[in-house]
Symmetry: C2
Subunit: 329 residues, 2 copies
């Protein structure tokens, strides 16, 4: 069993400074009982020796350009270092919504060309975010097949997760930031190249992070601007408490479903990461009370969806919720 590598520190690298308290996320060998305990309880942990994507650790732009094949891939283009995800299908319902980034479909070659011409620019940034599919060339296929599928399948079984939905390849310019959001899936976030600083917040911090309404394109994203929080609108953000880690190549961060995360690429160099996304397990047949924060988030999502469905107009959801709440609860 390898000794866990010492954690890089965010103070040594030029990362964003935030005023809220953070605790370190534990770095552990996956064979440690504590690691298993944490994952069983859906708490984050950095696994240091899984070899999960060992076969991809040699990936760089030039190798990928040679081997990704001729297919087109999704690259986001942003005027800022922030790349806030939004659901395109919900955009038409919000006519005043300004897309925070643009989606491009480029061949990998085109991406590499653009990447090079964007180096040093401060008016536009790029972030490659696309699933690994079978359009890739034989080199990548070989690397993919040699991911530690045995290990990851054992994890899925042990924690009773649902099916693997995708492996995303993420290629980020230095300094890019994915704003704070939660996903409805479990994630093994594997660092391949460069450094990422990950800030995580437990599901019980939901009320301090004020996600957009579920019908909004930015569903699951915090409305709070971490750089300049509006404490009038979001007073509970003052009480936010997080967890932090720096991922270097070979590290695997387990991001549990419903855990909030904002992820920043170190300003020094390009970052490459690969995700393993798994659906949550089946709803337990015997529900115990009080419910977990995760279950409460799931309930709030269902309530918002039902109201939207019943009213057929997202503008009416708020007034109806206030009709239920105001002066009554």
């Amino acid at each position: 069993m390898a000794e866990p590598k010492g954690p890089p520190s965010s103070s040594k690298i030029e990362m964003k400074k935030y005023s809220f308290p953070v605790k370190p996320i534990q770095r552990l060998c996956w064979t440690e009982a504590t690691a298993d305990h944490l994952m069983t309880h859906e708490e984050p942990v950095v696994l240091t020796d899984t070899d999960l994507v060992q076969s991809a650790l040699h990936w760089d732009l030039s190798y990928l350009e040679q081997n990704m094949g001729p297919a087109k891939h999704t690259v986001y283009v942003s005027k800022s270092r922030y790349f806030m995800y939004y659901d395109e299908r919900k955009v038409n319902d919000f006519p005043s919504f300004k897309e925070p980034m643009k989606k491009r479909e480029w061949t990998f070659s085109k991406f590499v060309d653009e990447y090079k011409s964007h180096e040093g620019r401060t008016d536009e940034y790029l972030y490659y975010q696309d699933a690994l599919t079978d359009t890739v060339g034989s080199g990548i296929k070989h690397d993919f097949v040699h991911f530690n599928w045995h290990w990851v399948s054992e994890r899925k079984k042990r924690y009773n997760w649902g099916q693997l939905t995708s492996n995303l390849l993420l290629i980020s310019q230095p300094g890019n930031i994915t704003p704070c959001h939660y996903d409805e899936q479990h994630n093994f976030f594997c660092q391949v190249r460069g450094l990422k600083r990950c800030l995580l917040f437990a599901p019980d911090q939901y009320d301090k992070l004020y996600p957009y309404p579920v019908a909004h394109p930015c569903d699951r994203q915090s409305q709070v601007d971490f750089d300049s929080p509006d404490f009038e609108r979001f007073p509970k953000f003052k009480e936010i408490e997080g967890y932090e880690c720096i991922l270097s190549p070979g590290d695997v961060l387990y991001i549990p479903m419903y855990w909030w995360h904002t992820i920043e690429t170190s300003p020094g160099e390009l970052s490459i990461s690969i995700t393993f996304w798994y659906r949550g397990g089946p709803v337990p047949s015997k529900i115990t009370y009080p419910l977990s924060s995760q279950q409460k988030v799931a309930i709030t999502r269902n309530i918002e969806k039902m109201l939207h469905e019943a009213l057929q107009d997202h503008n009416e959801v708020g007034p109806l919720l206030h009709m239920i709440c105001d002066g009554r609860y």
Copy 2:
């Protein structure tokens, strides 16, 4: 077609004064097109010539005592003139809830004795509220059979209501007040003896009337004390607008489902009334948007019930609703 009788005025009788604006509820012959129009659109109207309970207009305490039979009946006893309904089944979930009135089961003779001994008392008041059932004697049965069932069944059919659920007999001491609430049924409220002042509020006034949470024993009742409104907690009550009528014997007030009402017995004399409660019609197969206020109230009730069911603790419903609303809607 009889000419409608002129409306008694609340200013002529000693009734409570309120500061909010009220419009008169129209008094109409049931054959008037306007009456039909109002009822079709679930708006209140006083029908002056239905003969619906003509056969009961001779009822008084002495006749009822002779003819109600030996069964026991529900009489509410209150320390004040207010008789706020509460759901006994929900009381155990609210340990600090103080029952606003006590329920007694008395023979009609016992009620009459108590009624007489309560006359002039200012420390305790009585309100008889029980369904007319087949335990009644032959005199009452005869009167009941001669209610204008043909007329009322025609109304039910025309307005596509559900089944008749009960006929309540209400016998009130002078000055008793039923605080503001709504029912989930349509009601023909028939005045038999004495005067009642009825204040009604449309379903779109819901947000100004702040009903108790659905899980609370006082579900469907306004939390607002009309005599001394707490405008800090209930600011929108300042904007309340109502409708008013005075019912005298022979008048039938149609109280549409979900319309709020507070009903006051004139201080001058005992009041006897009979209600005809009908379930609402089936949900329309084709729903049109925007929804009516009634449909929105139905939705809010379902949301509150679902949350209560999901959380299994009424104390958790409020925090979860605030988690959905605060800073988000």
